[in-house]
Amino acid sequence: MKTRAIQIEHQNFQLHPRGAVYWEAQQILLIADVHFGKVMHFRKHGSAVPMEAIYENFKNLNQVLDYFRPKRVIFLGDLFHSYQNMEWDLFREWIKERQEAYMLIVGNHDVIAAEQYEALGVNVEEEYTLDSFFLTHHPETKEGVFNIAGHLHPGVRFYGMGKQKISVSCFYQNENGLILPAFGAFTGKHLMVPKSGDQIFAVVGDEVIPVQLSP
């Protein structure tokens, strides 16, 4: 597992190939778009998506938490895909065992009531500003602060000699902010159209690779 260090506004961040970002000075782990409950939502409606994908989400979460041992975890929205289902029970049992502080910044998919989260010790916020960083679900621009967000499930397509093409998930940074890849195992990606000067970090297997842009 190889993380990649980047600097934003004189702060050190680590990008993890599972799709999480660690803010060193604050000891905060940022995770976007887990979409818990999506697999079960499909299964409830007669579409037999493998249950294993549910456990994979927890496995990956445990992996990044063990790696960084953060003090706090902030979910940048779309933690749950839909209404409560049995995945919520799994989540509740999982979070009971955790020691870190948790916060959820509400995303468009998050329809589960804030009280339900609060009861589990998860703070629920619309947005959150810390230092000169502005954390949201939808990417936003705000004067004087750097935005970190999710929502888009960014992906990037590569072109090479011999007419090769590959697309993978990525961390996507431009002048407005940083967008995290979707963390969930059953999520998919949206291909971005990069602009000159954008910085992209592709998630490739167990590595995070900076992307070269060409006209």
């Binding site: 299964r43 007669g46 994908a53 839909s82 072109y159 090769q164 592709a202 060409s214």
Partner: protein, 818 residues
């Protein structure tokens, strides 16, 4: 009344119409009335409809004499195309009316209104004309057993069309159920000529079944004279080496259109159809109002109008796709033009048969090659027509997705007991080798969504009642299933409408997704500006702009049949050693062959040609097996894989019907390639499985499988259903299965289908065996050869790599938007 008397009634009716029954019609009447099942082999326009309507009606006439008329469904006529149902109904009614019989004929297809459906539910017509999907829907309705209990006959029209498709499997399953609930029912199929007619009968009736033993094959044997003429330009200098449009021969086409009363121009894709129509009009504005266009995405009213106009002889020419291949009889059509290779002999013959319908008349079909090498195809087709070489239609085996759909259908209506249904299912051709374990897997999939009971699961679809009945209780599941039954073709389709209202047709989502508002595209012969996309509707305005994008619809790519490729190779091998006088096509090609010889060679019977050269794009390796694009896709990926084992390398693979190309950013050591016996048939399957390409292709196959088995809900055309949270792409689902449940039968089916239907494993084996008998000739060239040109310019490509993904990406770049 005995059989002879009944047949006399029909014969007299024929004479009254001024007709005389053909021997094949009388044979079918007799066999049907003797209680036999069967397959009738007869072409369109031969009187096949009356071969079967007549005995069905006679049978009930006889019953009518015995006791009073009973209400309810008596016979079902299945047609794969809704468009044909009206014509079939008219034929039946004409006969009924003249005999003054009190039977009603009804139609039930996707076009039938809700009101009419409800009326039919209360009281079924005596004779029902319907599609395979609507028959499934009938099985999905309550009390279907009661509805069908007095069925005496079911006729499956155009069986050859259904045979090689999953709709054919749907039919097999429906028939297995109907056979069980109505033991006296006769089953008849009607098929155009295909290579495997005997097998077609076996698939229809069930392998080794009682129904099969009590059946006959009746052949119409109406041989017709077909003349093939190639359109060859006066000089070959301007003849393009590549391309698929053929517009350089537009004026030649115009003069053929002028000479004939009505001409049908068959194109291979809907995009080609749109472009030809536009170009004809802009080059010859005087044709306005006299030419029309017909393809599957154009709205129904326009299509019906065009079909009617052909019959009225009010059109000079119609540019069309396979949408006019089937059914509907057009007596006034005099001339057929095929633009580009038809890829198969059967399809070509069927199209040729669209002209000169009157008995004894000759059918003329012009072949228009879109690039030079296609002239070889023209010569090969002539031979095929002469020797009546016709392809097989390969039936599907173990299509678990269709079985999942069918069992859900039964669970939605009255429910089913697995032990009662199992023997019916394994009596079909498709599932003859299915094991009890596989059946159990499907049942678990339906009831638990997995093979083991899991904690924290809320999967819900089919439930098991206390007495063991499998039943769907959720109304939402039932509704979604009914909506989904008709969607065996699965790319999301949006309807195209004017902002001010007015429906133009339907278009595939992936094309629209590439457009921005304000972009102009050609559709239904018009240049349209995209206004916006709203709720599965594409809203457009008329545009005055001249240039526009043309949608290239998916599914337009077809491959040579093996019969066709044999003929093609034969034709090509003769280039250097003509047997007898060379054909006009081969003569026209001589300049290009000359050029090919200068750069490389034209391979003979015992030679297998390989070329290599370098361009700005990278290092090209070209191979020419002449086996059709599907085999080439497989061979290309196989060879790329085997080469990549020698050293880490990435390829992009292009292919057409003549050969394939491996393109790389590294030079390939050809000597090493030749030394390592890369065309070996050893480990064929496992090598193919490992080639990344198989998984890419399986992913494409999985799309249909996911939709048919109900794992992906696509919504319903023209109806907006709130299911956004349930939408997921089959792509995503494929990835999830690959990572977490690779032993899933439906996931595995996507690979099996890839090997059997896409890669044509059997043909691949034969091709490799043939190549091993040939001498491999490798030609390093300085520049692209005429043979290579159409291949290296193809943009639809597959990929294969043995390098680590990270290593590849480090050498690649992403493009930014300028």
């Amino acid at each position: 009344m005995n059989r002879k008397e009944l047949e006399a009634i029909a014969r007299d009716w024929f004479y009254e119409q001024g007709w005389k029954p053909f021997p094949f019609q009388r044979k079918v009447w007799t066999a049907f009335l003797q209680g036999k099942n069967g397959l009738l082999n007869a072409p369109t326009g031969s009187g096949k409809t009356y071969a079967l309507w007549v005995p069905i009606v006679l049978f009930h006439l006889q019953k009518l004499k015995k006791d009073n008329k009973k209400k309810g469904l008596k016979a079902i006529w299945i047609t794969p195309l809704r468009a044909l149902s009206v014509e079939i109904k008219q034929s039946a009614e004409r006969f009924l009316k003249d005999l003054d019989l009190p039977f009603t004929v009804g139609i039930r297809t996707g076009d039938t209104s809700q009101k009419e459906r409800a009326a039919q539910k209360r009281s079924m017509p005596d004779l029902l004309i319907t599609t395979p999907e609507s028959l499934q829907l009938l099985l999905a309705s309550k009390n279907y057993q009661n509805t069908c209990k007095d069925l005496s006959a079911i006729v499956v029209d155009e069986w050859h069309e259904l045979l090689g498709s999953k709709r054919g499997v749907q039919m097999e399953l429906a028939l297995s159920r109907l056979k069980a609930i109505t033991p006296g029912m006769r089953i008849w199929g009607i098929s155009a000529t295909i290579g495997n007619l005997d097998q077609a009968r076996e698939v229809l009736l069930g392998k080794g079944s009682r129904a099969y033993h009590n059946s006959v094959l009746v052949k119409a044997n109406l041989r017709k004279k077909i003349t093939v003429r190639s359109i060859i330009p006066k000089t070959m200098d301007t003849f393009p080496w590549r391309g698929h449009l053929g517009l350089h021969l537009l004026e030649e086409v115009v003069s053929i259109i002028r000479k004939s009363k009505t001409t049908l121009l068959f194109t291979n894709t809907r995009a080609q159809c749109e472009i030809w129509f536009q170009k004809l009009l802009s080059a010859h504005p005087e044709f306005a109002g006299e030419i029309a266009m017909h393809h599957g995405s154009i709205n129904k009213e326009t299509r019906i109008w065009v079909e009617q106009a052909i019959r009225n002889e009010s059109l000079k020419a119609v540019v069309c796709t396979s949408s006019l291949d089937l059914g509907v009889d057009f007596a006034p059509v005099e001339t057929i033009i095929q633009i580009g290779g038809p890829k198969g002999v059967a399809r070509f013959l069927q199209r040729a048969g669209r002209s000169g319908h009157r008995p004894g008349e000759e059918s003329v079909i012009y072949f228009l090659p879109t690039h030079a090498i296609e002239l070889v195809e023209a010569a090969a087709l002539k031979k095929a027509v002469k020797h009546q070489v016709i392809e097989d239609r390969i039936p599907y085996i173990n299509s678990f997705d269709v079985l999942v759909q069918y069992l859900t259908t039964l669970a939605v209506s009255d429910g089913f007991y697995p032990d009662e249904i199992f023997p019916e299912v394994v009596s079909t051709f498709c599932y003859q080798s299915m094991t009890r374990e596989q059946y159990q897997w499907i049942l678990n999939f339906l009831t638990r969504g997995s093979q083991s009971l899991q904690a924290y699961d809320e999967y819900k679809k089919v439930e098991i009642e206390d007495d063991g009945l499998f039943k769907v209780h959720s109304r939402a599941v039932a509704m979604r299933h009914r909506l989904q039954i008709g969607t065996i073709v699965s790319d999301a389709v949006l309807s195209v409408k004017y902002v001010k209202g007015g429906y133009l047709g339907s278009i595939e989502e992936w094309f629209v997704s590439k457009l921005k508002p304000g972009d102009v595209f050609t559709f239904a012969g018009r240049n349209l500006e995209l206004f916006r996309i709203k709720q599965m509707q594409v809203l457009v305005k008329k545009s005055r702009q001249r240039t526009a994008k043309v949608p290239s619809w998916m599914g337009g790519r077809m491959s040579f049949s093996s019969e066709m490729s044999d003929l093609l190779r034969e034709q090509l091998y003769e280039a250097d050693h003509p047997e007898g006088r060379p054909s006009a096509e081969m003569k026209a090609l001589s300049a290009i062959f000359e050029r090919q010889r200068r750069e490389s060679i034209v391979p003979g019977k015992d030679e297998f040609l390989m070329e290599s050269f370098k361009t700005r794009e990278g290092y090209h390796l070209l191979f020419y097996p002449f086996e059709g694009r599907f085999v080439h896709e497989a061979l290309g990926s196989l060879l790329a894989y085997r080469l990549s084992l020698l050293s880490p390398i990435s390829f992009s693979i292009a292919f057409n019907d003549y050969g394939f190309e491996l393109l790389s950013d590294q030079e390939v050591d050809v000597e090493r390639l030749l030394d390592n016996d890369l065309f070996s048939t050893d480990y064929l399957k496992s090598d193919l499985e490992k080639s990344l390409n198989a998984s890419e292709m399986a992913r494409r196959k999985f799309r249909d499988i996911a939709v048919i088995s109900g794992m992906v809900f696509t919504g319903y055309p023209n109806k907006l259903i709130k299911s956004k949270h349930l939408q997921s792409s089959s792509q995503l689902l494929f990835e999830v299965f690959k990572d977490y449940e690779p032993d899933n039968l439906l996931f595995q089916q996507s690979f099996i289908e890839t090997f059997q239907h896409q890669l044509e494993e059997g043909r691949l084996q034969l091709a490799l065996e043939r190549i091993q008998q040939q001498q491999i000739i490798w030609r390093p060239c300085n520049k692209p050869t005429p043979f290579s040109f159409p291949i290296i310019t193809d943009r639809l490509r597959a990929k294969l790599s043995s390098e680590k993904l990270a290593d590849r990406i480090k050498r690649m770049t992403a493009q930014y938007d300028k």
